[in-house]
Symmetry: C2
Subunit: 635 residues, 2 copies
């Protein structure tokens, strides 16, 4: 976290200076007639997008929500490692880590061979493999995640606060903007209609999305005809793995998934209930809380399980559904999009793999920086079509995975009577095999203007183009602080150009880093010169960072090119946070990520932390071409 | 952090349920006529004590401050590792870590041999030795630390908020209580006197303490007749170590101490200024900001140093002063104390070793739990005399250390002309030798009722009686979470009884842990039974934790004595956070701390994280005697 670039200021450094332009203030009770972005829905996707856009004080963003206030009890509580990386970008990762339950191990239980009516532990595995990500897999009340986003928004320059009790009541798409009709539901203004003309409208309004409906898109898919019960419960039990994530298969009573919850006492338990008839909906069955508790008790035998207090419970059926298009222009493809949908509005699936919130926030993280660039005039609006292209494919993967996983979770135990059932060992194997998927780190965007090819992947094997930047530990040169490289990848809408140095000492004449800096600082082909607006800091659009091979005590800061400790801000203060060295105690990043020590590597990281390009350190043309295709030439 | 023991509750889990008794609410504008504790002064010591007492909803605490509102710009900004451990106890350590500058390395600079008018780097050392403490040495605006304490107080059951614009105007000490006169300074009530009768009054009102004066105590000591300038500055410089802590000795221009500050740009710089005449005070010299900047520029040659924006600056002289007594009863010793003083009210010294805030908060942490026990009826009021006894000795150490260190810092460079000067290498050696002292971890309380002898120290060499509990990594048995043992030592006023197990499997009949649990649960001599009030949770006063030698996958939770996963709270929920195993990947705690593997060890940790006793696992008599001397028998 950097602050005080212009001057010291008392108080919370994350409470940013308020925007001097009152027209951009975003905490008024009435909605303005015109905005840049109108977001519909305060779920995880809507709030992620709002928090992202709140980083850009020149963009007029508002977010509306049908409910009268913030969510209090969440249903999506699993936070994958990948989402923690994104939370780090928003500077809220520590808050989540501190409150959350950490999923460290997953236990598998099956019927005892001797007493098949009783369960025994069949396996125990580390939940996330070592080194997969810098942050843990955790569980936390979704409402807390919402609150952390709300805090960021409220402290942003425009003080963005949601307008609650607002129902989306239709839209019209014009040539330059879309216009939404919003109905007020609050007592004092009930029934009043606000008309908001927006350059972009984003529907993050859930599985029953009114925005999606207005676009004429449908969630298509099917149900698995299986009812599940779920509850957040304070229970007394002698089941020994109650504070571990558990997948439990009983002989005849169905399956259970246990997710311990934050605070040390509460747990969430998913219980397999009735098989539904073809085309039957779960609402037809009057399943009660007692039914769920009773089923859990039968499955957990010989262990006792007494529900003492239930914070929330529900009954639902599993289905996988997806829309064909994520924006209004996708069906025709003949213009740039103006209306987008995200999250559950686009894809719904089971809760079993804990993916719901995680995929939704990544939808928003993908769209956010693109809207930011376009609305700030840094990129053409054609960039926005890549959102649907990239995220539709990811959602389809999710639907396919979830169909398979939730059918395994609901399958009977494999036996003579149920030859197509699932063996506990197979369930465990599948779980382990898909650990990287559920951690959220296998997302790979296909080749496009945003995502280069694999021609030079050999230079940086561990930073795979199209996948999220896989962090590694480093030491900052100027102050010897050990940190994770991902800490440099903030959600500020900037591209990062991470240069992994060649062997040469950067003070030497043959240093490729020195030559790169010269190109970037001086060439008319330099993407920094080409795409950074006049008067802005040199790193305002593309943020150069360098990782050297030498230890941090071997290098001399004062011999470095200016571009690596550039003067910034109104006072021309040096930024000392651009240069890094390996953290040998934790592992050398060059070894950990397979970076070519002779040639080094250039790695471009998109504002959403995905690798956009890997290139030779001296392939200036490739670098320039990458950015030229995405960004406008600065005026 | 544990929560939801009675039921799930939406919202911030650290916003505790409000006390149903309105008489205990502590956020009213007027002071009540009677309180349990009245704290005078909202500095680090006062706020630490207030935050500690706010953990006990039955104790009526108020805190007054002469200034009209919270501190905005702090002067004490160095946070020693030991203070970070204490901040962990208050659950605010992560907030500090996230915002602060981390002191990783310290650089030493001296005059160049070739060009004595220019400085060169003479040494570079790691600031804190590996393994000394689990948390870093950091720098953060003191006002932010205040804010974190204020947040804790405001979210406590009594919603403790300071009463600002209140001047302490005298006190009277009676037989059962002390009575303070408080003058209001706020416009609407100017000059009004509030009379507050308090069981205890605590003066945390700084070097010019009015409470100390009312007790008739004086700060005794002397000045070093050396003026220093200090500023928080945004500067442009080519000095390469500007983001490291630096001790710089110039040939003739004096010395400089550089402390980089949070946010990446700001730094604090202490600059040696004029030598004062005997008995001359610094106010006699009209030293200006320009003088300070000019001196810094001369000392830093050949490097350029341009001050762009100064957030705060001051000129001061170094002195070391201390009072003889820290409570009203100490001079006579014939009754129990009613009025205490803490922090700068008791001891003042230079800022150079960064000890001011750190020693003051430890004063408060030492007193807080004692007041808590006495006011809750769990301990006799004679316990309170130990505060002055323990902390007076620590303050004297500090004064002695600071006198030596600040005279070295202000000494001329050793040379033919200045044979009694200080050689840069000696300065560096002294700094390294005293690294543990400045980290705050060598405090050792003398033997007393609270601090046992060293008879059994060999059983747990690394947990030295009288010193702070030296944390080590462990894995929690129930959920396989890796954590530091110190995370169990919350600032909740409880003693911890940490039992390091013998080799036996705890399920075996010969397990000493099993026998210990039986004693603690059932014997009439058990300190748990003797000192825990009827109806309270079994760990309400003494919190038993066990560290086993086996890996966490080798042990069976369900075979453990009930006392190690005890039912708690109104629902009788099990507490799963009592049992730990070594974290072999980070180092086995038994090896790291030299715990006897054959015999195991009992380690009692006081509520302020200091080791009170080390004893054999089966020395029940020693254990019972330790607590019997401190705590009342429960009614």
């Amino acid at each position: 976290m950097q602050f005080y670039l212009d001057k010291f200021r008392p108080g919370d450094p994350e409470l940013l200076n308020v925007n001097p332009d009152p027209a951009l203030r975003a905490d008024t009770d009435a909605l303005p007639a015109e905005v840049d972005v109108l977001i519909v829905g305060c779920g995880p996707a809507g709030l992620t997008l709002a928090a992202q856009l709140s980083r850009f004080p020149g963009i007029k963003t508002r977010i509306v929500e049908q409910k009268p206030g913030p969510l209090e009890i969440g249903q999506a509580d699993g936070i994958a490692c990948r989402s923690m990386e994104m939370f780090q970008a928003f500077n809220m990762r520590e808050r989540v880590e501190r409150e959350a339950y950490w999923v460290n191990e997953t236990a598998f239980w099956k019927p005892s061979a001797e007493r098949p009516g009783e369960i025994v532990r069949s396996g125990l595995i580390q939940d996330v493999e070592d080194g997969l990500a810098p942050y843990p897999h955790v569980i936390i009340n979704q409402a807390r995640v919402h609150q952390f986003f709300l805090d960021i928004m409220a402290r942003s320059p425009n003080r963005l606060v949601p307008n609650y009790s607002r129902r989306f009541a239709g839209l019209e798409i014009g040539a330059d903007a879309a216009t939404a009709r919003i109905e007020r539901l609050d007592e004092a203004h009930k029934g009043e209609i606000e008309t908001v003309r927006a350059r972009y409208i984003v529907g993050a309004d859930g599985a029953r999305s009114a925005v999606r409906e207005a676009l004429g898109f449908k969630l298509v898919g099917d149900y698995a005809n299986q009812a599940w019960g779920v509850m957040d419960v304070l229970a007394v039990t002698d089941f020994p793995d109650i504070r571990k994530k558990c997948l439990i298969q009983s002989q005849r009573e169905g399956n259970v998934l246990i997710i311990p919850r934050e605070g040390g006492y509460m747990l969430r338990i998913y219980v397999e209930m009735d098989r539904l008839a073809e085309n039957e909906r779960v609402t037809n069955r009057a399943i009660t809380l007692d039914d769920i508790v009773g089923a859990a008790q039968r499955i957990l035998r010989p262990y006792k399980f007494e529900a003492k207090s239930v914070g929330w419970w529900s009954v639902y059926e599993v289905g996988q559904r997806i829309t064909d298009y994520f924006d209004d222009a996708a069906p025709s493809g003949d213009r740039d999009p103006k209306v987008f949908i995200m999250g559950d509005a686009c894809h719904t699936h089971s809760a079993k793999a804990g993916q719901g919130l995680n995929v939704s926030v990544q939808d928003a993280f993908n769209l956010g920086w693109k809207l930011g660039l376009v609305l700030r005039g840094l990129a053409p609006s054609s960039l926005l079509a890549t959102y649907s292209a990239e995220r539709r494919a990811i959602a389809q993967n999710l639907i396919d995975f979830d169909r398979e996983w939730s059918s395994m979770m609901a399958a009977p135990l494999k036996s003579a009577e149920a030859p197509h059932g699932v063996d506990p060992a197979d369930l465990q194997t599948y779980f382990v095999q898909h650990g990287r998927y559920t951690a959220g780190v296998v997302t790979r965007y296909a080749r496009s203007a945003l995502t280069g090819g694999a021609e030079h992947q050999a230079l940086a094997k561990g930073f795979e183009v199209g996948t999220r930047f896989h962090s590694a530990p480093v030491v900052r040169l100027a102050d010897a602080k050990a940190l994770e490289l991902i800490e440099t990848l903030e959600a500020d809408g900037r591209f990062r150009l991470i240069a992994f140095a060649d062997r040469a000492n950067p003070a030497a004449a043959d240093s490729k880093i020195r030559a790169l800096c010269e190109f970037l600082a001086q060439s008319s082909q330099s993407p920094l010169r080409r795409h950074t607006p006049a008067g802005a800091d040199v790193d305002a659009v593309i943020d150069l960072r360098v990782v050297f091979q030498q230890g941090h005590r071997e290098l001399k800061l004062e011999t470095m090119p200016d571009l690596l400790w550039p003067p910034k801000g109104p006072l021309g203060l040096r930024d000392y946070e651009k240069m890094f060295c390996p953290h040998f105690k934790s592992g050398d990043v060059f070894d950990l990520r397979g970076v070519d020590r002779e040639r080094g590597a250039l790695v471009v990281v998109r504002p959403d932390q995905y690798v956009g390009l890997a290139a030779p350190l001296d392939d200036y043309a490739a670098l320039a071409a990458y950015f030229a295709e995405i960004l406008n030439a600065a005026g």
